[in-house]
Subunit: 588 residues, 2 copies
């Protein structure tokens, strides 16, 4: 089990007593105390990376410390702790991700390497864990609980059972079982989920939940099943119901899904917010660079009316308690010396960031070098499928000419990922289906050597011409292509196979642009600035091809094959009826 403790406890004790010099004293700052809600001037002594002593008196020194840092009257708050997120969503590898969020004052994340877990299994989780070694922040890991998301309806790169959980629980920075998405399985006591939960409990892991829209008796059953947190709360009433039931509500503000306001509206009448935390879930590089990370979420909560100290508490000690890690999330004796100096506790731009008592960022810039390491997994091509040809993307109609009824996956709107099953009567000419108005072809190709592939038809997706393809395709991350002309689809597929994954756009048989995501087909080794430029180029091209969703056109395709979003989705096995997890034939 992960534990925060100094290497040399006796030295910490001596520094606390003032018998030896501390390594650092931070003077002239105003402590935001998350235990009492007070703000008052302090001197904070640090030894061995931990807070040795917080002095409210004798502010003038002398200071029993090797180094004295002048806080210049700013607020001193605990480093932020993100209660739920996925590094892969940033499309950056863990080391580069750290570089961009540390300057915002996030010193601990609890992340779920679910995406790479679906691609590379245990090895992928291990890489996400191991590659965080020596970073100027703490990347705690929750073990993906649902790999694949919907067993039997899709083929991912791995399958996790209780044994995988037990094996991964041995990793040093593992703290929990990640978002238990199969809430249906939990509430009905399915053996696989019960085994996985029992294994996690046996290993001392906390149980992170995932219960979007689940309420009433279903929510009671889910809580009785074990998981006790949720970052999928969208509605105000839903938020208050979860709080009442003792569930931790991890209020999310991702790049796409912004729930903080609605949740605050729901829970603001509560007397206690012990179980309210804040999280980012999925944030892209652009937002990380310009808006921030956890500081942006806390800022948003405050702008919605939350008291600044309550909001800071929800992003620090509340999360530490939720995940069961002692000595984290506060500035008090024995706690890890992760601290942020900020001029303004409403806007929360981080002036100085301390991690383990060491300055790691100042004025928005990382000051602690992050060693450049290349891991073997990063150099592999994860695309385990052979080059394809135009013929692979032609749907064989059951008649040569005439009409045929097909089951179509129809988006409810151009900016919702919710789809309905729709039946259309399509013309067949020389054995080929003629698409109706607003339709496109879709292909999902297994990229883990299974050889499985499904073709279908999508409506209201938005694409107007050419083809787009992505290997970021939740949660199995198979190669997903939306197209009109099979030859464009083949060019797109072969481009991503050659590049080792990513996103591409093709028109007239030529690649327009590719965003290369060579690490597992999900992440790039580019840093945030370069990635933001690349992503912007790709977005621009996709917008030009008709993907006009308000926030991020790149995310339109990535949930096409996600069989936990209602009501029908495509996988490498075909059309999935999400509600009952059955397969639907293409021809009605």
């Amino acid at each position: 089990m992960f534990k925060l403790e100094p290497k040399n406890k006796k030295a910490l004790l001596k520094a606390a007593l003032g018998e030896i010099d501390a390594d650092l004293a931070v003077k002239n700052c105003r402590l935001v105390n998350v235990f009492t809600g007070e703000i008052y001037p302090v001197v904070v002594y640090v030894k061995e990376g931990f807070i040795a002593h917080v002095e409210r008196e004798a502010l003038e020194g002398p200071y029993r410390a090797k180094e004295v840092f002048d806080g210049e009257g700013r607020y001193l708050i605990p480093g932020f702790v993100d209660s739920h997120m996925h590094i892969e969503s940033s499309m950056m590898v863990p080391r580069n991700f750290a570089k961009v969020i540390v300057p915002h004052g996030t010193t601990t994340i609890v992340h779920d390497p679910h995406e790479l877990g679906n691609v590379y299994g245990v090895e992928g989780v291990r890489y996400m864990h191991d590659s965080a070694e020596g970073l100027p922040m703490r990347q705690l890991v929750d073990i993906p609980s649902c790999v694949p998301a919907v067993p039997g309806c899709e083929n991912a790169g791995a399958e996790f059972f209780a044994d995988e959980i037990r094996e991964l629980a041995k990793l040093e920075r593992v703290v929990g079982l990640a978002e238990v998405m199969d809430f249906y399985g939990v509430m009905h006591g399915d053996d696989r989920m019960m085994d996985i939960i029992a294994a996690a409990e046996e290993c001392g892991l906390y149980l992170q939940g995932h219960a979007p829209g689940v309420s009433g008796r279903a929510l009671s059953a889910y809580l009785c099943g074990g998981p006790y947190t949720c970052h999928e709360t969208r509605g105000s009433a839903e938020a208050m119901e979860k709080l009442r039931m003792g569930m931790y509500v991890d209020s999310r503000e991702s790049s796409i899904t912004k729930n903080v306001e609605a949740i605050w509206e729901g829970v603001k009448g509560s007397r206690y917010f012990d179980t309210l935390t804040l999280c980012t879930d999925d944030r892209e590089s652009d937002d990380l660079l310009h808006e921030g990370h956890m500081n942006a979420v806390v800022r948003k909560a405050i702008s919605c009316g939350m008291d600044p100290v309550d909001a800071i508490k929800s992003a620090t000690i509340n999360t530490a308690r939720e995940i069961g890690i002692a000595h984290l999330g506060a500035i008090a004796p024995g706690y890890t010396a992760d601290m942020v100096l900020t001029k303004n506790i409403r806007t929360l731009w981080a002036d100085v960031v301390f991690f383990g008592g060491k300055i790691v960022a100042r004025d928005g810039k990382l000051t602690e070098p992050v060693e450049d390491i290349t891991y073997e997994l990063e150099t592999r091509n994860s695309m385990n499928l052979a080059p394809v040809s135009e013929e692979d993307f032609v749907i064989e109609a059951p008649v040569q000419n005439g009409t045929v009824k097909v089951n179509v996956m129809k988006y409810q709107s151009l900016d919702s990922s919710v789809t309905d099953l729709s039946t259309a009567e399509l013309t067949v000419k020389d054995g080929r289906l003629i698409l109706g108005e607003g339709m496109a072809f879709v292909a999902v190709l297994n990229r883990y050597g299974k050889g499985t592939k499904a073709l279908g038809i999508v409506e209201n997706f938005g694409l107007k011409e050419g083809a787009i393809a992505s290997t970021v395709s939740h949660d199995s991350h198979n190669l997903t292509i939306v197209y009109f002309d099979p030859s464009d689809a083949a060019v797109a597929a072969n481009e991503l196979i050659a590049q080792g994954g990513g996103m591409t756009a093709v028109a007239g048989g030529s690649v327009l642009n590719t965003l290369r995501l060579e690490v597992g087909g999900l992440m790039t080794k580019l840093e945030a600035e370069a990635l933001t430029v690349e992503a912007a180029k790709m977005k621009e091209i996709e917008r030009g091809m008709g993907i006009t969703v308000p926030v991020n056109p790149l995310l339109r395709i990535v949930s096409l094959a996600l069989p936990v979003v209602p009501n029908v989705k495509m996988s490498d096995l075909g059309i999935v009826n999400v509600a009952d997890q059955t397969m639907i034939p293409l021809f009605a």
Copy 2:
């Protein structure tokens, strides 16, 4: 590790979903929600001893339950959880103790069998643990951390090191390491305490502290050392300092030491009370019968100005979080169904008490039979010393006649247990010391077969005639006697040796009265009512002999040999200088 979980989780899930009948539905009651602070009408469904579902709507039924209990509009609160206490202080054995507190709504205690641990070692802790089997309440155990309290200055019946902690941690209901009293040892990183703390952490135990009056850098060092709770807070400023430092403040209201008011005065300005809990520490049978147990402490906190729901929260979920036990301390899905119905959330008399979903007390009476079991340890005589004679209590003066300087343990007042070292010039006549005004002799005899014995002189103790003796004598519980005439002392000692321990009063060579405490010399098998009568008789007699302390004269002698109370104390090895843990000779 102790864990709360249903035997048949799948049945609990089914009842939550309403697929099968719950075992019980409690309707027509107002839930005190410790997560939100709200009070609202509910129906609570219980299955397998756990809360399956809490329904806010559809209050009229039908109820999917085998049995429906009408709450008659009363408040439904979680069963109380006592964050720190010693059963031995009640002088009752665990089973009889349960009988008297369950009707007050305490369904869980976290107790420290420190006293019997000093007498019988591992075996004593085991007995305290095992004899709670099958009770209509949960007696969780913290393993005594400091046996004896001051190694080297006293001989107890046992010595605990890391191995004893590891062994006892295997017991089913063990949750923590009990009040780490040797705060000096912790803050200075003494090997024995560091080893014990490391062993406890390795076993997943939480670390209960004990830091009376400790503040500033000393408190920082103590917290860096590990323990993070304290029930020894007396002052208002001390309470707020501890809260600020992230320490759990277990606000105590024992029969003798009443800290709730001062603590509340200190902390009432805090924005948060997450780390404020309530506890009883030591309560005697009289109080338990007539004033209550945790309900009395909560009542007191409310009378001091604490919000009733905050106070209830401090006596339930806050404590559950402090001790790290999930599914305890709230009425919510998945939580143990320990609940109390009360008409008034300010006075908190328990009308109906549910433990694990079963009614165990109504209208102040236990309704669930407690099986009468006799344990082998209860039938033993713990007095391992031979009968004594008058000569054993005569102090041999270094001169036959004349004067001699002696070191006297002088109480600061008749109702304080704090003493100072005082030097007196006493007359010696025929080799015998003549006591000065207000003085008495004191003897501490090891009762664990060590053969050690110390004689001394006490001043301002209060006794005016005869002799009193006790085997309740913290923390080593050696046979302690205060007397004028050695022959009375011998009678008193022999009486307690014969009775197997207890308290006795002797005058003119005859026993006036004995309160027999045959279980380890600390507890009786009498139930609360009978014990209260016996204790009242004993108190009356001691008062008549001059022990006029306001609260309980029986407790005057019990701290005489407690070498952690300042400034000098007697042990079976002689006079102890508490501050530096050295021995002081009798003759100055």
